[in-house]
Amino acid sequence: MTPAHTVAERGGTGRRGVLGTIGHTLRVIMRYPTGAFGLFLLALVVIVALIGPLISPYGPFDVVQTAQGRIARLVPPSSVALLGTTNQGNDVLSQLLYGTRVALMVGVISAIGSVVLGTLIGLVSGYFGGKVDEAIMRFTDVAFGIPFLPFALIVISVAGPSLPLVILLVTLFLWRTTSRVIRAQVLTLKTRPFVWAARAAGASEWRILFVHIAPNVLPLSFLYMAIGVQGGVMLEAALSFLGFGDPNVVSWGSMLNQSFRAGAMRSAWWWVIPPGVALSLFVISVFMVTRAYEELLNPRLRET
């Protein structure tokens, strides 16, 4: 899990520029067939999340009418509703398109939040060591001792379901692993010569930490951010599936919840399959991209 080279050894990221680095990373990911496939799917998800509401035939809660003017309940896929309708007469395709945005939003926001949190905690804990580290590590142990799903269910049922709360909970769940990994990385980095050199040159501790060490753990942070997107999407779906999601928002998980409760598994496959497949494809695409990115970070991984 160690990056093959530190930034200092490569001569700094600065040479390439941020955009250049991103471009380079994408090109490398594209080199793996699975990575390219994942990127393609992911791009599709992002586009749908952005323009979904524009192209969707109905609103998520709109009731589709039959030609006779009756509510179109549980209509199989047809020209009226391409993916059929729910038992409330909602259009499955529209819900699916709207749900994409929710999935991406939860995934990205909680991933960013957790990685920022986890990276900061890991940096401080690993670099300063001693009592600070000890305290943070025990805190992390406690966080790892909390079973996420039950905890989230209780908090939601007490505080009331809402999308921001779900995002917050997922964030609180995801930071733990990131901080442990970053801490371990910092522990090895801080013994490297370039840290000594910076200290000898009179850099302050915080400067060393944020200017010299932090850039070297960033690639790892990005990796965990990607993994976090995967986790975030999955957890949101799980909570919504259990009926603890935001009732005012349509997400893939809540679609599965509704269809499961309505017994659609028996009768209306078109209501069950699309959200599940969308969820799986999204998660797998993120996974494929992270896998390629991981290999970029550490070629040795291929060996193990």
Partner: protein, 325 residues
């Protein structure tokens, strides 16, 4: 030996500390969060007697510290109070549900570990081949598919469409044996177990398989195997050395997996209508039956912590390097 004892003591202290911390968080959560469960409860239409009893149990009029101490004591002595609805001691409910959950998880984990280990050794053996690459990618992808969706699909196909297996539940209606043991030894139970167990396995098999694959590679390349050969040891002794080393990380993995499953199977219990502790938690929360919810949460947390502890301890015994680092 001294080192080992010190290590065990430290682990034990950590276990106690984390348990206490998790309990405290639970306490604070119920105290601080808006919509205090008791207010929900008291506003609803329960008998005076129950309200009094619950108030007493919670000691709502006492100072906070006393409430805290009493709560901690009750939890740590597994004195969870009485269910709002079922009128039975929560402890009995939770114990029963835990057993049910275990009845689903244990067979799945055992099968996953055995099959995963075999698969992993095969992968380690065939390293670099095309099949190996394909299987590894498949396993990794499998790990990222949400298992509750796999559960739904499996149910749709094998139960609703093909009708091979029951659509859920742990036993047929009226099929309860006289005892837990009687139940889980019945054919009817096994029949109900097949689908959820398979779904759990699709996910859980990946971890031992991938783990064993990489440790096998590592052990096969280690210098000490050469020396063992040079010493003129018989083949089976050498295999024994290799296996013992390759299995080391698996012990932790299995223990952690067990602990994690005790909370992660909530979704599958819902899908397969399995009367386990996770489903009980969801039901209790929907019914605002907070004593049960609290107890379910606590035992799940405790089980995770216990399994992690067991993993650490076992590992220290089988790998002498651990206790000293």
């Amino acid at each position: 030996m001294n080192n080992l004892r010190l290590y065990l003591l430290r682990r034990l202290a950590l276990l106690l500390f984390v348990t206490a911390a998790v309990l405290t968080i639970l306490f604070v959560m119920f105290k601080l969060l808006p919509g205090n469960p008791l207010s929900v409860f008291i506003d609803s239409n329960f008998s005076e007697e129950m309200i009094r009893r619950q108030k007493q149990l919670w000691g709502l009029d006492d100072p906070l510290w006393l409430q805290y101490v009493r709560y901690m004591w009750n939890m740590l002595t597994f004195n969870f109070g009485t269910s709002f609805f079922q009128m039975t001691p929560v402890r009995d409910i939770v114990v029963e549900k835990l057993l049910h959950t275990g009845a689903m998880i244990v067979p799945a984990v055992v099968l996953s570990v055995v099959l995963g280990t075999l698969l992993g050794s095969w992968l380690g053996w065939r390293r670099g081949s095309r099949q190996e690459g394909a299987v590894v990618i498949g396993l990794l992808a499998l790990r990222s598919v949400p298992s509750f969706f796999v559960g739904i699909i499996v149910l749709m196909v094998f139960s609703y469409n093909l009708g091979w297996f029951p659509p859920g539940g742990m036993v047929s209606i009226g099929g309860h044996g006289d005892s837990f043991l009687g139940t889980i030894l019945s054919l009817d139970f096994l029949y109900h177990l097949v689908l959820p167990c398979l779904v759990l396995m699709t996910r859980e098999i990946t971890s031992p398989a991938l783990l064993l694959r990489s440790t096998m590679l590592e052990v096969k390349g280690s210098d000490f195997l050469d020396i063992l050969r040079a010493k003129g040891l018989p083949e089976r002794r050498i295999v024994m050395h290799a296996t013992r080393n390759a299995l080391l990380p698996l012990v932790t993995d299995v223990a952690v997996m067990m602990g994690f499953l005790f909370q992660g199977q909530v979704l599958l219990e819902i899908i397969f209508a399995w009367p386990g502790v996770g489903r009980e938690l969801v039901t209790a929360l929907n019914d605002l039956d907070y004593p049960v919810a609290q107890a379910c949460f606590f035992v799940m947390a405790l089980i995770i912590l216990m399994f992690n502890f067991v993993a650490d301890v076992l590992y220290a015994f089988i790998d002498p390097r651990v206790a000293l680092s």
